[in-house]
């Protein structure tokens, strides 16, 4: 059986990144767009942990910071979603046009 190298992990991370980007670009539901952003952040985390395997522990520490960031982003994003839903009674991204002229 051939060996699993770092490259395999990097390819898996890019596949997850592509899935997340497709979700962000094409879905209309805000909740699923936020979940796709979580997918993208997880792809980044996988890259960092995979490189920390051949470098040193800094990648893992950065992963912890990225997870902190994801928590902050999810809290603020879902707060904005609640405020938006209260005003317009919808969760579709393309109806978010309050700031458009």
């Amino acid at each position: 059986m051939f060996q699993i190298s770092i490259l395999h992990y990097l390819v898996l991370a890019s596949a997850l990144f592509v899935l997340g980007t497709i979700g962000v670009l094409t879905r209309r539901n805000v909740v699923i767009v936020l979940m796709s952003i979580e997918l993208i952040l997880n792809a980044v985390n996988l890259n960092l942990v995979a490189f920390s395997r051949i470098w040193d522990l800094n990648g893992q520490v950065f992963t912890i910071f990225v997870i902190t960031d994801a928590a902050a982003e999810a809290a603020v994003g879902l707060g904005i979603l609640i405020a938006f839903f209260r005003n317009k009674e919808t969760v579709n991204v393309d109806e978010v046009d309050l700031l458009k002229w």
Binding site: T26, I32, L39, V49, S52, A70, E73, N92
Partner: protein, 172 residues
């Protein structure tokens, strides 16, 4: 370099995580998407374990699968999803977005496979990372080199909490 990652577990876990990712972006009901995302997160935690990062794997399970996903499910409960389920799920961008994103991913993989520096990195003898004191070592780095960044992260969390409370108030 010698990784103990057996190929079977790698392909099993990566297949599970990719399956979860595909389900996240295709399901009509956001609750199903959230459950699929939990599957992805747990599979990634297993992959972190294979990469000798048990602390990150634990943080992934506790914080992501336990904390952030509960937040998502809570908000899904607050907003009504019945109307959104009956509407069109994909916007008009999909015809351009999906091929462009796949092209971008192909470019990334091409760069990874053709890079000159990655084989050099792979030939470097891997540092001896012991799983037994991984948490201790991560803590030493976190509170040594990155102590300022750690404090700033706590400030970021405070700002996020205040922002979320202000956003969710009755009138802004």
């Amino acid at each position: 370099m010698q990784l103990v990652a057996t190929p079977f577990f790698f392909y099993l876990l990566s297949g599970l995580s990719l399956l979860g990712g595909v389900l996240v972006i295709t399901r009509r009901n956001p609750v199903h998407s959230a459950l699929a995302l939990i599957l992805t997160l747990l599979a990634l935690a297993g992959i972190y374990l294979m990469l000798y990062a048990p602390f990150v794997a634990g943080v992934q399970i506790i914080l992501y699968a336990g904390g952030i996903m509960v937040l998502f499910l809570f908000v899904i409960m607050l907003v009504s999803i019945e109307k959104a389920e009956k509407e069109r799920q994909f916007n008009k961008l999909w015809l351009v977005g999906i091929p462009a994103t796949f092209a971008f991913g192909t470019v990334i993989v091409y760069i990874f496979t053709r890079s000159k520096i990655l084989p050099v990195l792979l030939k470097k003898p891997a540092p001896v990372l012991l799983e037994s004191n991984n948490t201790q070592q991560v803590g030493l780095v976190l509170f040594g080199n990155y102590v300022l960044a750690f404090e700033i992260a706590s400030l970021l969390l405070l700002v996020a909490i205040v922002g979320a409370v202000v956003m969710a108030k009755k009138r802004i």
